[in-house]
Amino acid sequence: MTDIELDRQLFGFIDNLEQSLGYDPGVRFECDDILLCGVGGSAVSGDFAADCCYAESRVRIHLCKYPALPSWAGPRTLAVISSYSGNTLETLTMYHSAKECGCPVVCVTSGGVLESEATSAGDVLVKLPKNMQPRHAIGYMIGYTLEVIRSAGGPDLGPRMAAFLPSLRRFRDANMIEDGCMAREIAEWLRGKVPVICSDSSMRSVAFRWKTQINENSKFVAFCDSEPDLERTGTDVWTDPSGKCAVIVLIGCDDGMCKGTAKLESLVSCLTDRGMDVVPVRLNGSSTLENMFRAIILGDYVSLYMAEDRGVDPVEVRPVMQLKAKLSKRL
């Protein structure tokens, strides 16, 4: 249970991001690889940050969502351990493995066991505000993760992000709040359907975020896929056995980060010609980086309105709690 209502948390995403920009861990990390460790809502920031840095980072950035670090992790691998609660078992296991491997460690958390152990060990600790839904603390977590990556030799994206924050706020206010806004229209269009979110490879993490937000907030099954996986398997021959798939194609703009806009427009035409339910969502931002944030905000609000439409509580995640209860009894 959180003290901050969910819609206020979504609205506060941009402010949270702004607050985290400029964060300095006070350490310059010398490393060859960065391992972004986390699961669920706490892994989103790593996914997103890896996509943001893909084309520019001279340091290799990897994701780890499995309770075992890769065999090559060691003293030249910076392990960024993210768990909002600080108590997620898989992430704590990754933290312990990172310490055993001799990795320099940064912990991103609001408290829990992770904060306690990181403090005792003298690790760099990025403290998140409490009383938020973990999956809606990503404004802070994305910003902090990108700044940690910068301190390890990754690109400095902070100034670019700060520059488009006013545009993001205008986008949010124009498209997320009012009756008949874009987010509500998309949510209504998805009623009774199986959402499939498609994107270019530059926004793979965003498509995944849409899927998981629909899963958790709206309690629906949803799917996602991105280029080049779509092209590899020939989307043009797909049939939809359920007859219920509704495809959302997230379309940005071509720039240094993205080269796939034409393929996505072609995908829209192809699926439309095959009689599938398709809607292109053209984000119209000034850059791929801005479009990624626009899409995150839009997807979060869509999932909230889908939950309202279904009459379900977007906050509760009973099956996840069931699983955690079983685990805690066993261990």
Binding site: Y66, G192, F220, G234, D240, C245
Partner: protein
């Protein structure tokens, strides 16, 4: 490694294994864009069935040493040519393992040989399982899950369903699934009764990932969602991946017979 075509799952088998055996990362890049870290210190193994050299040229422009594995012979000095037509994934897996072993980074070739010995003795079970799976896919909207240490398996299965059945299919990873998708799949989703989950996993044991997968299945069943689970044995990641991929090939054959 760089591959984005039909041979990608075979390459991912080696990348998955590198995370268990290698002292250096061996990332698999499936993107047409080069990551920022690629430079003259990068050894690039590019796999392209059709011999697309655009990525090779891009890599060489950054000073990377490259090897192209392809079925199209066109005079590239460092090209490794595999036969056309016959199951190219099998050839690519062997070739990439051999190249990787020859670099000294790590030795997937030996691991592959050991895995195949074990899989050979399991052929009958693989065929039985494949036939069962073939019958449960047609007309369903399927999503395939595998643990993150055998990602290649779920990719191979999605490719199979899309190509052999011409149906949309999707994938995900465990235990990440348990923190988000579990909620969606625990709902009846009455609007889409064709939804089906298939989970590929190792034999149950006392490790944390295995326990998590077992509890996940319990939670789904308690919430009314039945899951088709395929056990891939308790061997190495390459053994479980390859067993899963052979099962996919067998299922494709059964699907053609339907």
């Amino acid at each position: 490694m760089f591959c984005s075509d039909c041979l990608m799952p075979a390459c991912m088998v080696v990348s998955d294994l590198a995370d268990v055996l290698s002292g250096n990362p061996v990332p698999l890049i499936t993107d047409s864009r080069l990551p920022g870290w690629v430079d003259d210190g990068t050894l690039a193994i590019v796999v392209s069935y059709e011999g697309d050299r655009s990525l090779v040229e891009l890599l060489e422009s950054r000073g990377s040493a490259t090897v192209l594995v392809t079925s199209k012979e066109n005079g590239g000095g460092s090209d490794v040519v595999i036969p056309e037509g016959v199951n190219p994934s099998a050839f690519v897996l062997g070739v990439v393992c051999s190249i990787m072993s020859s670099t000294g980074v790590f030795d997937p070739a030996s691991a592959l040989v050991a895995a195949l010995e074990s899989i050979r003795s399991d052929e009958e079970r693989i065929v039985v399982e494949a036939e069962s799976l073939a019958g449960s896919i047609r007309g369903r909207l399927v999503s395939v899950y595998s643990p993150s240490d055998i990602r290649a398996c779920s990719y191979a299965w999605v490719d199979l369903i899309r190509r052999s059945y011409g149906q949309a299919a999707f994938r995900g990873e465990l235990p990440e699934f348990d923190h988000n998708e579990l909620v969606g799949w625990s709902d009846p989703n009455e609007h889409a009764p064709e939804l089906r989950m298939i989970v590929f996993r190792g034999e149950p044991d006392e490790t944390l990932p295995s326990m998590i997968m077992g509890f996940m299945q319990e939670v789904l069943e308690e919430n009314g969602r039945s899951v088709k689970t395929v056990y891939l044995g308790s061997g190495s990641s390459i053994e479980r991946n390859v067993r899963g991929m052979i099962m996919a090939v067998a299922t494709a054959i059964f699907s053609e017979a339907e």
